[in-house]
């Protein structure tokens, strides 16, 4: 059963620490999305990639967030330094690209910054 895998599922860290979240897209999918979900803002698109190239990261705070795809099987989202306002659930989704595609979501990483 193909699925998007995110690690870790839960992360508690202290303010100022670096946080790295990982996502393994479904094999063969060439599009990866990163979202942040909070009660106040809902689902915000942070960044998305196609064929490992970043297409849009305008939703991401540039000073502390970075997103990369070191290879086709791994996407990472880093926060350095982390702040309490970064506490949220971060979802990764992947899709096969093209004009008719849906996104498949991972289980999310619940981040708490204290």
């Amino acid at each position: 059963d193909a699925r998007v895998t995110q690690t870790p599922r839960h992360k508690v860290t202290e303010m100022g620490q670096e946080v790295t979240m990982r996502c393994q897209p479904i094999l063969g999918h060439n599009t990866v999305f990163w979202y942040r979900q909070t009660m106040m803002q809902g689902l915000e698109l942070l960044a998305y990639f196609r064929n490992r190239a970043p297409l849009d990261d305008s939703g991401m705070p540039k000073d502390r967030f970075s997103a990369e795809m070191p290879d086709a099987t791994l996407a990472t989202l880093k926060i350095q330094p982390s702040e309490p306002r970064d506490s949220a659930v971060y979802f990764c989704a992947s899709g096969s690209g093209g004009s008719s595609t849906e996104a498949f979501f991972g289980q999310g990483t619940r981040l708490t910054v204290v």
């Binding site: 698109l45 998305y48 008719s100």
Partner: protein, 111 residues
């Protein structure tokens, strides 16, 4: 840039009541439209999608949605809700490969 607006933030229904959740989008080009559901503590799952063709699309669990191009709308419907439909529902639009979600509607179904 595209945007999505969901009219209802919180809906409370009794079992067997009919459901309609509103969704309007803004985008100048060809769009693909989706409804996703998120059960408490879980990830988003696809309910249904519209790419082209018949504007009335049927999804899983008895849900359907109608794409009305002139109104830029893609409302979700279900004739008779069940307690197990309690969840958050998200409308989404994909334009030029970018997938944007609405704010979500929390549906609470009372037994």
């Amino acid at each position: 840039a595209q945007s999505v607006s969901q009219h209802n933030h919180h809906v409370i229904l009794s079992e067997a009541a009919s459901l309609e959740l509103g969704c309007n989008y803004s985008y100048g080009g060809t769009v693909n439209l989706f409804w996703y559901v998120q059960y408490p503590g879980q990830h988003l799952q696809l309910l249904l999608k519209y790419f082209s063709g018949d504007p009335l699309v049927k999804g899983i669990k008895g849900f359907e949605a109608e794409f009305i191009k002139s109104k830029f709308s893609f409302n979700l419907r279900k004739p008779s809700v069940q307690w197990s439909d309690t969840a958050e529902y998200f409308c989404a639009v994909m334009g030029a490969g970018k997938l944007i979600f609405g704010q979500g509607t929390t549906l609470q179904v009372k037994p």
